[in-house]
Symmetry: C2
Subunit: 474 residues, 2 copies
Amino acid sequence: MSHQQLPRSQQHKQEATKTPIYLDYNATSPMSSQSRDAVIEAMYTGWQNPSVCSRTRSIVEVARKSVADLIGCQPAELIFTSGGTESNNWAVKQAVWMYRNLDRAENAIVGRPHIVASCIEHDSIRKPIERLLALGLVDVTWLRIDSSTGALANVGDLVAALRWRNTCLVTVMWANNETGAIFPIAEIANALSEWRRLNSLTVDSSCSSYANSGLPLFHTDACQAVGKVPVKVPNGLDLLSLAGHKFQGPKGVGALYCSARLRAKLAPLLLGGGQENGVRAGTENTPGLAGLGAAARLSKTQLDDVDGRQPLMVQLAEIRDQLRDRLLNSINDPEMSEFTGFRLIVNNNFPNGPTLPNTLNVSVVSTKLLQSAGQSKELATDNNTDDMELREAALARNYLLSRGRILASAGSACHAAANSGASAVLLESGVNPMAARSAVRLSVGPDTTIDDVLGAVEEFNAALLQWRIEHPSR
Amino acid sequence: MSHQQLPRSQQHKQEATKTPIYLDYNATSPMSSQSRDAVIEAMYTGWQNPSVCSRTRSIVEVARKSVADLIGCQPAELIFTSGGTESNNWAVKQAVWMYRNLDRAENAIVGRPHIVASCIEHDSIRKPIERLLALGLVDVTWLRIDSSTGALANVGDLVAALRWRNTCLVTVMWANNETGAIFPIAEIANALSEWRRLNSLTVDSSCSSYANSGLPLFHTDACQAVGKVPVKVPNGLDLLSLAGHKFQGPKGVGALYCSARLRAKLAPLLLGGGQENGVRAGTENTPGLAGLGAAARLSKTQLDDVDGRQPLMVQLAEIRDQLRDRLLNSINDPEMSEFTGFRLIVNNNFPNGPTLPNTLNVSVVSTKLLQSAGQSKELATDNNTDDMELREAALARNYLLSRGRILASAGSACHAAANSGASAVLLESGVNPMAARSAVRLSVGPDTTIDDVLGAVEEFNAALLQWRIEHPSR
């Protein structure tokens, strides 16, 4: 086929306009006007120190109430932080500190503190754990991911990993940032409570301190879920992280939920002044908190049930599904696919598990590579597949993103496996390595329109056509 | 004297207006319009992730250049943080980590890491050190403060406290938040370099690793100095903390300067994504950083030499001196003082040391208590002075601040000594306990006007008169 003979459906579309289309809400989101206005107002009138000014103290407490209402907890259970990373780092340290204190005080614990975490946690959980591991200070069980759910195969696997008298922390994200896979947090919380109860029945004096300690703590990184799906703190959850900029709020502010039962034992990560009842020092970012509160109030409205449906979730899912179906229909159209030599694969279509309504993870893969690669299961476990062909799998994807019309993530930069450029999260989730290497994470938000969808589909097609024209032999 | 017979000078002033006068710039400052506008613009157009958006990456790098220009360092030597508290906590941990790594790697170090710090450091330095001390992980030398300078008696005392092969950190604030006393940071940096050089000459193999380690690190908490006096990183300084909201910038953003020589050894405090070249995880707060950069550019203009004078410093000192002189003249006017029974004492008038141009620390003390107390030096060292009279010393001050017209700090809340309510910083600085217990920190800023000064003086007088009318027998 000559390069001039474009598929008929594409012949009039070669001059795409250059307005960028933002499809990276899972990375960060534009601010809602409500949140922005709240920040602006507080910069004018709410800059004073809350410790001496009742007006700005009120800004902080209104924000705390708003976030508490969003996630269904008490305001006193929320501590404001600089964002999800700080909250996540803090949760890991808190659990290890508590275990060490127990060990010191009671001389009753055998061995090292043990952490149970999913193997697709965000870097702000994974790296603090890996540092402790490298220092020989903890043992870790990384829970495998089930390819049919993108999350855990079953909660029993998690319970089986727990070690009585050693496990200090279970940390499992509410929703994954790359695939949107949702973990059964309430079910895990239940199972942990039951495990604790059963083991406590057989307590002898040598381990009563552990039984009474409240360990293991159960933490969830909910940064990616809050504002997209209803996130309500279940019984048995100790710690939860959230970040304002993931749900149309300001950057640089977040919170750590700490259950009332744990609150008295919470040790500061950052020490200094007496802010946040002595557990989080640093002058309060009152404008940021005003914006966080406004974002939480908006999210609550958007996610509240209306006749059993959540308007925002429906809206996000409809837009996401439009994007998915139109991309599949056009890119995998036989004439188009034959011309470009590419097929679109959806990476986060897990048959047995829910995902965030806004997340679509796709790959454009060469039909030639697909045919030669054979069965995907073999690929996923075969280290020899790291060859030239697979390295080339990312080139068309990189070209697409480099054109700058679609703003989206190539997986998650921080998760790229060192040797291959493939997303470790996708590999762990059972996506075949070729797809994991050429993935594009498309995440829509409340402001995403059908025009954005149409533009993105047009751009995908235009980019693949242009790529083929420029690289006829690949 | 009857309560109706007010001093003539005060008879027409009893109806003070209720517009609050902000004299608490050392706690936090209103934002400059430049900084606020930069935040607002970035909230609209600069919210995208810098890792994928050149426009927002540019916001971050312009801010970095602006802050670097302000403190005279290379942009690459600045890491953005959530504020002064995070920067200070990080500096302490970095030094202890480096020492431990050395210890582990070389098996060459004897004993525990040792920290040298002034005894009037901010809580965000003092408390992280105290936690390490409580855990038995460090030794600490707290340097005493000289009452003639409010800072160190001489740098020799600091050098004498250093322990070859043990000292991992010297941390001394650039300027104290309560008294404004300025420490000789460049001189200390020089002395440390010289001490390192001299000790290295006599190195034997057992301590070459320490000699080559770059330890002890020299850190200064410059949060209170930046924007008020020229702060230029001197040779030999390793780490410096600054916070945006102390110099008319946004809250929730700050920076840690880390010298080029130390940069490769800097370990993250918060782990996660690869932001800030991998040493400070967390999505960049681009609007906050835009505001920080704007604040730094404004401060640089304000502090740049004009014919050998810094316009802002002159302006601040003039306003501060007006406030001091007018308070002294009116409150200590014989007729007024006889009626009220109070005298004003200036707590931060150190004969041999410089102070910040904006800081005035005063106390209103009962003339009766002053007479019965006798010599202040005895008071300062006598534990038996913690009696009813001294507890009452704070009552008139508390009443003044409770009226809400003057917004100022009663010392620094976090520094209040547990048993007396006296400022530990003032006690350490040689201020007599009675004064330390009734201190008011007045700190002016670029927006403070002569009308603010006149209003504050009026309010001081009105409050003392009213207090006396309501408590005739005290």
